[in-house]
């Protein structure tokens, strides 16, 4: 049924073909497995950063009491840690989460551990929402994407055990494609949201943002302040370079001929931006999203 204003059938067919190819073309697990190793490792590092202060924050006399936490998190926020404030319970949950993340990273029992790892990770963030940072946000979404795909079909203990048992390797799967495509969508959305937020600030227009990042004495990872203090043009160049890259990345991962080049650039640029901004884990998380954009089509 073609209404007078409906697009010609060819366009509709092309859109349908693109949609089916983007979401449903079976994909091999190798790239998703690489994402699993990196995202799992990053999640473990972020998880580890809670360890030394876990009881100080969430213990019986914790600084972030359950009342504070519930007031801070949005409605519908839940945490496994809500069930206990006893140090033994807190540490037990923490150890379980670490084991799930480790199992996900090495690809052991992946169909189950990938879901549980994402659940534990989100749960820990909900226990202290004010402690979570941008790296946690991006890592959480990557873990959920990994839970959708079959990343355990390659570079994993699961695949090793299957090979030893004489079972054939798994063929490309639609679930891998859906996971990789979701990662690409998020890579673009997160980059676009970041650049939109940045462009609301004058410092990203007047070219001084790089200075304000470099001059933070406590959180910076590399001390560029002495260099930038006397180099206005370099400061401007770095500032505009960050926003320009983010715009190019957000759009470029959708443009066939340049997609892989943009993704490769992201593997280098995001960690550098993370270092400049004092958010190295966020930069690493964005680089992992860039890696997912290298998927074959």
């Amino acid at each position: 049924m073609n209404a007078p204003n409906s697009p010609p059938p060819d366009a509709a067919t092309a859109i349908g073909e693109w949609w089916n190819r983007f979401w449903f073309l079976p994909a091999e697990a190798l790239l998703l497995a690489k994402v699993r190793w990196l995202a799992g490792g990053l999640a473990l590092l972020l998880w580890w950063s809670y360890g030394p202060d876990l009881v100080t924050w969430f213990g019986p006399q914790g600084l972030v009491s359950p009342e504070v936490s519930s007031q801070w998190r949005p409605a519908y926020g839940l945490s496994l840690w809500d069930a206990t404030a006893a140090p033994a319970g807190i540490w037990t949950l923490y150890a379980c989460g670490a084991l799930m993340l480790l199992a996900l990273t090495i690809g052991f029992g992946t169909p189950v551990t990938s879901v549980l790892a994402a659940l534990f990770f989100a749960s820990l963030l909900h226990r202290g929402p004010m402690l979570a940072g941008p790296a946690d946000d991006v890592t959480a979404l990557m873990l959920w994407c990994l839970a959708i795909g079959r990343s355990g079909d390659a570079l994993s203990v699961d695949s090793f055990l299957a090979a030893r048992a004489g079972r054939p390797a798994q063929p490309p799967a639609v679930r891998n494609r859906i996971a990789l495509s979701l990662l690409r969508v998020h890579a673009s959305v997160v980059a676009a949201a970041a650049v939109l937020a940045q462009l609301k600030g004058d410092v990203w227009w007047d070219g001084s943002a790089a200075w304000w990042l470099a001059a933070r004495t406590n959180s910076r990872m590399v001390d560029l302040a002495p260099l930038l203090a006397n180099a206005e043009y370099l400061t401007n160049l770095l500032t505009h370079g960050v926003t320009l890259f983010e715009i190019v990345f957000a759009a470029g991962v959708w443009i066939g001929p340049v997609r892989r080049s943009v993704a490769w650039a992201g593997l280098v640029a995001w960690p550098l931006i993370g270092l400049l901004a004092g958010e190295p884990f966020w930069g690493a998380a964005m680089a992992i999203l860039a890696l997912a954009c290298l998927a074959e089509e």
């Binding site: 990770f121 304000w212 960050v242």
Partner: protein, 241 residues
């Protein structure tokens, strides 16, 4: 496995229908059963639903605020299942606006009666020497104390909980709690040898009286000190000018 060339417009790219009929290589299990029309339809609906939710979360959680329409749709239809998964987020990582809010925050607590010069009785968080993501979480906590004062539902809640949690560590149940931030100098000032300052963003007195925790907000103080070397001093002195 008959991989296509890079990018959707590459000459070797296959259509979805062609790709579904590709043979599998040696050593692989049998070809994966292609998703049926019904499966693809259901998954398409779920994906579309999630993508709408993602866009609404980005639009509805922005620091710039959101429209009542977006907020209502997001809150009623998407937040119930996206919040628990930690997916109801704006992802608006601004990195910096060059404002005091973006400066590095830290906590300073000491017994109320202890003199400001008694550095031994003063607890600074993150502790000097703590670095990386662990220190970043402490800085976020310190900043949350300041930000929370703008919200009537949260006002005073976090400072009281933080101080109460540290009564035992400091051996006193009457504490001074301050959130300080290290304000970097303008680039021009820095190029002329100027240094940053330490500014008090929030201060209160928290004490336990007859088993009840009381929080007494202290008036804002225009208290700054020059930043010495790369480390903020524990006890900023009043501004001289």
């Amino acid at each position: 496995m008959g991989k296509g060339k890079n990018g959707g417009d590459a000459p070797g790219i296959q259509t979805f229908s062609e790709a579904r009929q590709r043979p599998t290589g040696d050593g692989l299990a049998g070809p994966a059963a292609p998703p049926t029309e019904i499966t693809r339809g259901v998954v398409t609906i779920l994906l579309a639903l999630y993508l709408v939710g993602l866009l609404l979360c980005v639009a509805g959680n922005s620091a710039s605020g959101s429209s009542a329409l977006v907020r209502t749709i997001k809150t009623r239809l998407f937040s119930p299942w996206m919040v628990p998964l930690w997916l109801d987020l704006a992802y608006d990582t601004r990195l910096t606006y060059g404002t005091p809010d973006d400066a590095d925050h830290f906590l300073e607590l000491r017994p109320w009666n202890a003199p400001a010069s008694a550095t031994g009785a003063t607890l600074r968080l993150p502790a000097p020497g703590v670095r990386g993501e662990r220190a970043a979480r402490w800085r976020r906590l310190a900043r949350a104390l300041v930000v929370g004062q703008d919200d009537s539902d949260r006002e005073g809640l976090l400072p009281a909980a933080v101080a109460e949690g540290l009564f035992a560590s400091l051996g006193a149940e009457d504490l001074s709690l301050r959130v300080l931030r290290t304000i970097p100098p303008d680039r021009d000032v820095a190029s002329a040898g100027g240094r940053g300052t330490v500014e008090q963003a929030y201060a209160c007195r928290v004490r336990r009286v007859a088993g009840e925790v009381q929080l007494l907000p202290l008036p804002p103080a225009a208290e700054v000190a020059p930043l010495v070397a790369n480390e903020a001093p524990l006890n900023p002195t009043p501004r001289s000018n």
